[in-house]
């Protein structure tokens, strides 16, 4: 068993004033106005600091961020293939570990973060992420920024798109109103359940910056492979005025559709509004408040909204662990 060497200069932060001022994701990108994923990149690397290598799989955060001769990354950054965030993190961490152990490189903690979109993570890269999460000898973080479609290629439906959402591969038509009949994949709990040795898995949202900062730092300092799944409102793909990105992120959580939590060493801790909802301190907002703000659901009938609401209600009332584990234990 190798001893893992993690960063020691990444404390948990209380109060937004204690978040570092330095930017390691700066100008030079050309993401859309209101892009929440760009904010996620900025928060991610702000939390991780300069002794970090970032691997970015194909997607918006590759194409819109890094154009030849123009990069927003102040830290070392490298492209990886669409389904390769897990492999990129593993290979980078393995290369560093091997050379440090063999004296070919200075011994020091270097953070390794690989990010992927929902297309690259929830769909194509799932097996490589799963494999990476089995390597408890490497420190690495895989961050899935989920804007709920293949937003870089023209907004096509992914396994992480919501039920019924309009996309260029699931357009409502004269005969078929609902072209995407799949419910959003329950990714973080699937990875947590499937990889019991992983010490840290969390969901996150850029609307809660402090929480986001601390989650990144927890993931990088706990030791071993870790995973964070972030929900990122996307003005282009979700079809809303860019100024509402933050608000939509909050609504996703306040309606109970997205649940904020950390799983630390096998213990699930709900965060923020999700915690208040679970404790009964706060009532879930109706899902219509969230759906009606987005053009991608404009074709929904009252029945569709009722169906969507029912699914969210079920996830809180019928699931074994509200919003997390979608089955129950037999009473027999």
């Amino acid at each position: 068993m190798t001893t893992l060497m993690t960063a020691t200069d990444l404390p948990q932060v209380r109060g937004v004033k204690n978040i570092p001022v330095e930017e390691f994701y700066s100008s030079g990108h050309r993401t859309c106005q209101g892009c929440e994923s760009a904010l996620v990149m900025r928060l991610m690397i702000k939390a991780a600091g300069p002794r970090t290598i970032v691997l970015g799989s194909t997607g918006c955060m590759y194409v819109a961020n890094t154009t030849y001769y123009s990069t927003p990354w102040v830290v070392p950054w490298m492209h990886t293939q669409l389904g390769s965030s897990g492999s990129a993190a593993t290979g980078t961490a393995a290369g560093l570990a091997s050379m440090m152990r063999k004296g070919k490189m200075n011994q020091e903690p270097i953070n390794v973060i690989a990010f992927c979109g929902d297309g690259g993570g929830v769909d194509m890269g799932l097996s490589a992420i799963s494999a990476a999460l089995q390597h408890d000898e490497y420190n690495l973080l895989i961050l899935c920024y989920d804007n709920e479609s293949y937003a870089n290629t023209d907004i096509q439906v992914s396994g992480s798109s919501p039920w019924g959402a309009n996309s260029t591969f699931s357009p409502p038509g004269k005969v078929h109103r609902i072209m995407n009949s799949r419910w959003k994949k329950n990714t973080a709990p699937m990875l947590a359940a499937g990889h019991p040795d992983v010490r840290y898995i969390a969901t996150a949202c850029g609307s809660y910056g402090l929480d986001f900062n601390n989650k990144i730092r927890r993931a990088l300092t706990i030791g071993g492979p870790t995973f964070i799944h972030s929900i990122d409102p996307c003005p282009k793909g979700w079809d809303y005025d860019p100024k509402y990105s933050h608000e939509l992120g909050m609504l996703a959580i306040e309606t109970g559709l997205w649940v904020q939590y950390e799983i630390i060493d096998g213990e699930l801790i709900l965060n923020g509004p999700s915690r208040s909802i679970a404790k009964g301190i706060r009532r879930r907002k109706p899902i219509e408040d969230y759906l009606s703000r987005q053009g991608r659901f404009a074709h929904f009938t009252p029945d569709d909204i009722a169906h969507f609401q029912q699914r969210v209600d079920d996830s809180w009332e019928k699931w074994w662990m509200p919003g997390v584990i979608p089955f129950t234990m037999s009473q027999d």
Binding site: T66, G95, H135
Partner: protein, 408 residues
């Protein structure tokens, strides 16, 4: 599986009865490879069985990662290479194809990954035996592509592979093609060099300002589009051109340090002097071909054989010089290229292209042989020579491409 080499090895040069796969595994230990990725598919995976055993026995220290697919296998070493680690991986047949996206970008990113291809027929239908189409698929992408014929050559070329691939003037990946079963699983006597010799021959891998590290915050492979892609393609082309010179240099050094090797790193000539008919082929079919040539020589026939070793970079001048003056060239392809000119094999087309500028072009025939691991035998080679003799005699080509030893 047991390794035949003791763990306190490499102090002295030894002779071992080992397979091509084991020879390459030992080369990995000698070269002190840092990251090795494995995924099972026959026949290449024998090399990984030996590597894992060598690691388990403490013969060398590496991060040995069993990936969850060939795609990940190649992506992992690509990224390990980017931070400066020496790497090795490999595959066979459809496994190599499963990794194809990663294989493509490895060359595009100029990562000097060394891979063993245990040549295997592509599915479907399933077949374990050798065909060259798997490795051939990377011929246009910027990979060095070498076909070995013996276990000794497998070890030697593996050591040369890191030397060439990691050269500052090259930085391109290197595929060592080994015929499935005939090379991967067949044992032969191999001279294992000492670690001291290998250290003298093989410098450490250093990416300098290209290394991905917090001390060197570079952005690797941003989107370029039409603005810059052509210049970057051109750089890879120039690197492959430079590789020719580096290979000569590295091969000369190899011969100096290890005291063995052919006159040329690119081709092997066998009885080509004054030959009127020359057979051309790659890989382990060299052995039956040499036997057939030797016997025909005994009967007074002026026949020779050229084995193409480096398929990429392809040594045009050397091949031209070796074949210049022959009246007939019989190209043996252990591959196919459906619908290609003359419905011939890939090597045949390369040879045609190579010989076209010659003032006097020889008559050329193509023979597709040994697919799916079917053995190429002396009598098959005899048949090829008889066919080309007849064509030379009559001045008429009945068919340019003939499938050898195939049921009609």
């Amino acid at each position: 599986m047991t390794t035949t080499v003791p763990t306190d090895m490499f102090q002295q040069s030894t002779e071992e009865l080992i397979s091509g796969s084991e020879a390459i595994a030992i080369a990995c230990a000698l070269a002190d490879v840092d990251v090795i990725t494995a995924y099972p598919i026959r026949p290449y995976d024998t090399v990984m069985q030996y590597v894992s055993k060598l690691k388990a026995d403490g013969a060398f220290d590496c991060d040995f990662i069993v990936a969850e697919s060939e795609h990940s296998q190649f992506e992992i070493v690509k990224h390990a290479s980017a931070v400066g680690a020496r790497t090795f991986c490999g595959s066979s047949g459809v496994g190599w194809f499963y990794a194809f996206e990663a294989i493509t970008v490895t060359a595009g990113l100029r990562m000097p990954v060394v891979a063993m291809v245990g040549n295997r027929a592509l599915d479907d239908p399933g077949a374990f035996g050798v065909e060259h189409n798997d490795a051939m698929a990377v011929r246009d992408l910027g990979w060095h592509l070498y076909w070995v014929a013996t276990a000794q050559e497998a070890m030697d070329i593996a050591l040369l592979a890191w030397r060439v691939a990691e050269d500052r003037n090259v930085l391109l990946p290197f595929a060592i093609s080994c015929d499935g079963s005939f090379l991967t699983h067949s044992q032969a006597i191999v001279q294992v060099p000492t670690r001291e010799q290998v250290n003298r021959y093989l410098p450490g891998y250093n990416r300098h300002e290209l290394q991905l590290h917090p001390d060197n915050p570079i952005t690797v492979a941003p989107q370029v589009n039409e603005d810059w892609l052509m210049e970057i393609r051109r750089q890879t082309d120039e690197a492959m051109r430079r590789a020719v010179g580096v290979i000569y240099e590295a091969y000369d050094e190899f011969k100096e340090v290890f005291g063995r090797g052919d006159p040329s790193p690119f081709i092997e000539e066998y009885m080509t002097e004054d030959a009127e008919i020359i057979l051309v082929g790659m890989g382990t079919l060299a052995m039956p071909t040499r036997v057939a040539v030797r016997r025909m020589r005994e009967q007074g026939k002026k026949v020779g054989f050229v084995r193409v070793k480096f398929f990429r970079p392809f040594a045009v001048e050397e091949v031209q010089n070796a074949l210049r003056g022959a009246k007939g060239i019989a190209v043996i392809d252990r591959d196919y290229s459906y619908g290609s000119p003359s419905f011939g094999g890939v090597l045949f087309h390369e040879l045609r292209s190579t010989l076209y500028p010659l003032p006097e072009r020889p008559l050329m025939l193509n023979f597709i042989a040994g697919l799916g691991g079917r053995e190429v035998m002396v009598r098959d080679v005899n048949e090829m020579v008889e066919t080309i003799e007849k064509a030379l005699e009559t001045g008429k080509i009945e068919q340019e491409t003939t499938w050898i030893n195939v049921r009609e």
